[in-house]
Amino acid sequence: MTAATIDLPTFEALQQTAGAEFVGELVDTFLTEAPLMLAELRATLAAGNADAFRRAAHSLKSNSLTFGATTLGAMARDLELGGLDPVLKANAQPLDALAREYSQVAEALTELRDA
């Protein structure tokens, strides 16, 4: 993966406008919410619920871009636009890749928060 896990200028701009302490709390919220979204993607894929799948991908995309998690955001966007079929055909592999990218993002955000 060539793109940085977190785009630093985006993250720093967020800290500057919203305040570093607040962004710390926002990161905590994201780290609580994002695993729920990943689980929601799996559940809605299994249930064949395209609307809920799109919404979960949309939410994850939106939050990723907020923190500068550009790659995670792009992956979520692909899921939002592509829908259930390509993911089903690929045996849910895109969701595994998404989870791997998310662990890196979570790690990077935790570091940035504690910096």
Binding site: L14, T17, A18, G19, F22, E25, L26, T29, F30, E33, A52, R54, R55, H58, S59, K61, S62, N63, L65, T66, R77, E80, L81
Partner: protein, 350 residues
């Protein structure tokens, strides 16, 4: 806590995503606004119907009720359709953005929302809302709620449409000697109390007072909004006006002030109702033979020494239990043939 500036507004942030809600709330609070949040469209509409907000920031993708549905509901709701809405979303495709604007959203901001852009857009939207509110307040003060609503729904256009309605004219008997007998301050007080009572009686029966001339007034029942039973409503309003004047007279008697008496004329039928005047200054009114007749009947109350006179069209639509007395055909100025006139009997009403 941030110091609330005097241009602080009450904003509603609607987003199903917690991170988005927190971040938007933070940005807006840093700008000095008061913020409430809702996690979906259904909750947002409930809040909007319960409390007053100056502006809503609306996400589109939401469970239960999405942003498009919220916009549709707002547009249908006369109380809420003027609320400025800024869509904050990361929708894919221009078509979705166009749809938001077509559904009445004022503006569209892509997420993640740029705080500087957010501030500018909110400032512009609030300023527009302030101007609109000022205009609405002026319309409210100088027009009735019914006319204000008609203006809001149909827009302003000079000219009228044909309606079937009842028109009422009323004024105070022997007002000139009364005015001459007392200081002008007392006359203003008297007129204000009198109008308050008359407005109350008329509007509680669905009528609209559209003109006040000195001690006289003109009211319409059945326009701009249709009113079933407009004839009976007008007569009931007239009876209540007489009753209220009676109570007012008791107070005046206690204060050793002279009594007032009013005369009321009512006619029903087809007329043209609409805005008359110029594009700069106009008034909602109605015109036609029916209107002239009502004015003549009011004048005739002096001669007939009766309080309420009605025409035969009004008489025919009244329920049996409303006691009326026929005064026979009466010569009315402006009418070629004599017209049937009826007096509504005050004593025998239930």
């Amino acid at each position: 806590m941030h110091e609330a500036r005097n241009d602080a507004a009450r904003l509603l942030v609607v987003d199903d995503n917690k991170v988005n809600r927190l971040l938007l709330t933070r940005s807006l609070e840093l700008q000095g606004h008061h913020v409430a949040t809702a996690e979906n469209g259904r909750v947002a509409l409930e809040m909007l119907r319960r409390e007053a907000f100056d502006l809503m920031l609306l996400d589109m993708e939401m469970p239960e009720m999405d942003g498009f549905q919220v916009l549709e509901q707002l547009f249908k709701d006369l109380q809420l359709r003027d609320l400025p809405v800024i869509v904050t979303s990361s929708l894919e495709g221009v078509a979705s953005v166009v749809r938001c604007i077509e559904l009445g959203a004022q503006d569209y901001l892509n997420k993640p929302v740029n705080p500087v852009l957010l501030k500018a857009r909110i400032g512009a939207s609030l300023e527009k809302k302030r101007l609109q509110d000022q205009l609405k307040e002026m319309v409210r003060r100088f027009a009735t709620p019914e006319v204000a609503q008609d203006l809001q729904v149909s827009g302003f256009a000079l000219g009228g449409k044909r309606v079937v309605a009842s028109v009422m004219f009323s004024d105070i008997r022997d007002f000139t000697p009364l005015v001459e007998s007392q200081p002008p301050e007392e006359t203003i007080d008297l007129i204000n109390t009198y109008y308050t009572l008359m407005f109350d009686a008329i509007s509680s029966h669905g009528g609209v007072v559209n003109q006040m001339i000195g001690d006289g007034l003109m009211a319409i029942f059945g326009a701009p909004l249709p009113l079933p039973d407009h004839e009976a409503s007008a007569v009931r309003a007239a009876l209540e006006m007489i009753e209220l004047v009676g109570m007012f007279n008791l107070e005046r008697a206690a204060a050793e002030k002279p009594q007032i008496r009013i005369g009321i004329g009512i006619a029903s039928g087809e007329m043209v109702a609409g805005y008359a005047g110029t594009s700069r200054r106009a008034t909602y009114t109605c015109m036609g033979d029916t209107v002239n007749l009502a004015a003549r009947l009011e004048t005739h109350t002096k001669l007939a020494k009766r309080s309420i006179l009605i025409d035969s069209a009004t008489r025919k639509a009244l329920p049996e239990r409303v006691a009326v007395e026929s005064l026979g055909p009466v010569e009315i100025k402006g009418k070629a043939a004599p017209v049937e006139v009826y007096s509504v009997n005050l004593a025998q009403q239930g």
